[in-house]
């Protein structure tokens, strides 16, 4: 459907602003990662705009967009610690400068957003699963005993033990014919899952001495995570940045934000740009 809608979206955008193409300095586009068929439409559209209006073309990695969503309110200052949390990512990254990513720790199994979705599925919560865990958790109490990951002292994450514990608990209760309290289980799961994020982020703050912390990715919209991160930042006197709610989930503004440092460095793309389904922003050892 992207090909059908792409020019309509542009028309809609310019109908809602006083800006015209004359006010635009560059065209930024997501080139990776994602579904090729979708990326392709954006890339070809962006190349054509760049060509017609004679504006530089800038290729942006989707994940960089989530990170630079934090640059929309306040300019990022380095070095900083970034926690990336989404359906595909759970990483702690030390950024010494723009586009310099040093991965301190990553999940050894499932990503946090993925576990939220899987737990929602086993609890038969309606779509969208992950965000609904949060809603159910708000109305429940963390009464269920669930295992906390007590990995090594390194900054890696693990969620598969927690996930299996929730699944087993639900199955056992169902076999016994007793009712699961979905609200309480959602609250129990969320408390343990987020506690791990907080604990590892705290360790990273202590290890690096970083005075700045940013949160990026779709899970940064989770209100419980936001609240707990604020507590942590206060306790350790760290400057915390979390994108506004509407910039936490996928959006085009964050892609423009991520393009800005590349624009200043004149890192422009050429018209032979090809989308890449799997290109990584950084590698995890």
């Amino acid at each position: 459907m992207h090909c059908e809608n792409i020019t309509l979206v542009m028309e809609d955008l310019f109908s809602k602003t006083d800006l015209t193409m004359d006010n635009i300095d560059a065209i930024a586009v997501t080139y990776a990662p994602g579904l090729l068929g979708s990326l392709l439409i954006g890339v070809e559209f962006a190349k054509t705009l760049s060509f017609v209006y004679n504006k530089p073309l800038i290729k942006v990695n989707h994940l960089a967009g989530h990170i630079y969503a934090n640059n929309l309110e306040e300019k990022l200052e380095y070095p900083l610690l970034a926690l990336v949390v989404s359906g595909g990512h759970t990483e702690l990254i030390l950024m010494e400068d723009d586009y310099k990513f040093n991965v301190l720790g990553a999940t050894l199994d499932d990503a946090i957003g993925e576990v939220y979705d899987k737990v929602a599925k086993v609890l038969n919560l309606p779509y969208p699963g992950g965000p609904n865990i949060e809603k159910y958790a708000e109305q429940g109490k963390p009464n269920y005993e669930l295992p906390r990951s007590v990995l090594n002292k390194e900054l890696n994450f693990s969620f598969s033990g927690l996930k299996s514990a929730v699944i087993n608990l639900v199955h056992n209760e169902r076999q016994r014919g007793s009712e699961i309290n979905k609200y309480d289980l959602a609250a129990s799961f969320q408390e343990v899952a987020i506690e791990q994020l907080i604990r590892k982020t705290k360790e990273a703050i202590l290890k690096t001495g970083s005075k700045r912390l940013i949160i990026a990715g779709g899970v940064s919209a989770n209100k419980y995570l936001r609240k707990e991160m604020e507590k942590l930042a206060n306790e350790y006197n760290v400057n915390l940045s979390i994108p506004k709610m509407r910039y936490c989930t996928d959006n085009a503004t964050m892609i423009a934000a991520a393009a800005y440092p590349l624009y200043l460095k004149k890192e422009f793309a050429t018209y032979d740009l090809n989308p890449i389904s799997t290109d990584k922003l950084f590698t995890i050892q």
């Binding site: 459907m1 992207h2 090909c3 059908e4 792409i6 020019t7 309509l8 542009m10 028309e11 193409m21 579904l35 090729l36 068929g37 979708s38 392709l40 439409i41 890339v43 070809e44 559209f45 190349k47 054509t48 705009l49 060509f51 017609v52 209006y53 050429t270 018209y271 032979d272 740009l273 090809n274 989308p275």
Partner: protein, 190 residues
């Protein structure tokens, strides 16, 4: 009047520039899986070598399928974006009709093949009489039995001037409504 022609439905990227309906310059690049790399740079080259600026294009013609899904999407996206931003007239032609212009045989079946089967159009007295459809290779063999006196056209040449003439009296389309013709169901389209 300057017309830009774009075709990407098969293994070739074809870009042509016509001045008042006469072909000024065209480039064809065989690029099977790399249309995205080639299309916009080829448009740029054709314009440069013709000494025409993109803003001087008055009309776009695009072959909007059926054929390679990816190829068609690339060509159509670039063509409709050009037409929309340049406020240029845009016209479409299906791949089957475009290929039908290669010869004067009046009763024929024009095909666009992929690995498993064929898109086809049946022409009687040079008029397309069916809705363009897709059959796998065995089904297509069966179909041919029903049309014994029809000639299957295998010529894949794209004659840009003939396409221009074929569309000459047709109205332009709103660029928002210029869309790919897929015919086949698309798996995992997003």
């Amino acid at each position: 009047m300057n017309t830009l022609f774009i075709s990407t439905f098969n293994e070739s990227v074809i870009v042509g520039l016509l001045k008042d309906g006469k072909l000024n310059l065209n480039k064809e690049i065989s690029s099977s899986n790399n249309h995205s790399t080639n299309l916009v740079p080829t448009i740029q080259k054709v314009l440069e070598e013709s000494n025409i600026k993109i803003k001087e294009i008055n009309e776009i013609i695009v072959v909007n399928g059926p054929g390679s899904f990816t190829g068609v999407r690339i060509g159509v996206t670039v063509a409709k974006t050009l037409a929309y931003t340049l406020k240029a007239k845009i016209k479409t032609i299906t791949s089957i009709e475009a290929l039908s212009l290669n010869d004067v045989i009046s009763n024929k079946i024009v095909i666009v093949s992929d690995r498993k089967g064929k898109y086809y159009g049946i022409f009687e007295n040079n008029k397309l009489i069916n809705d363009i459809a897709y059959l796998n290779n065995d089904e297509f063999e069966e179909l041919l039995k029903k049309y014994p006196n029809y000639i299957v056209i295998l010529n894949e040449h794209i004659d840009i001037e003939k396409i221009y003439d074929y569309l000459k009296d047709k109205e332009g389309i709103n660029p928002h409504n210029v869309n790919p013709v897929y015919i086949k169901k698309i798996e995992a389209l997003s």
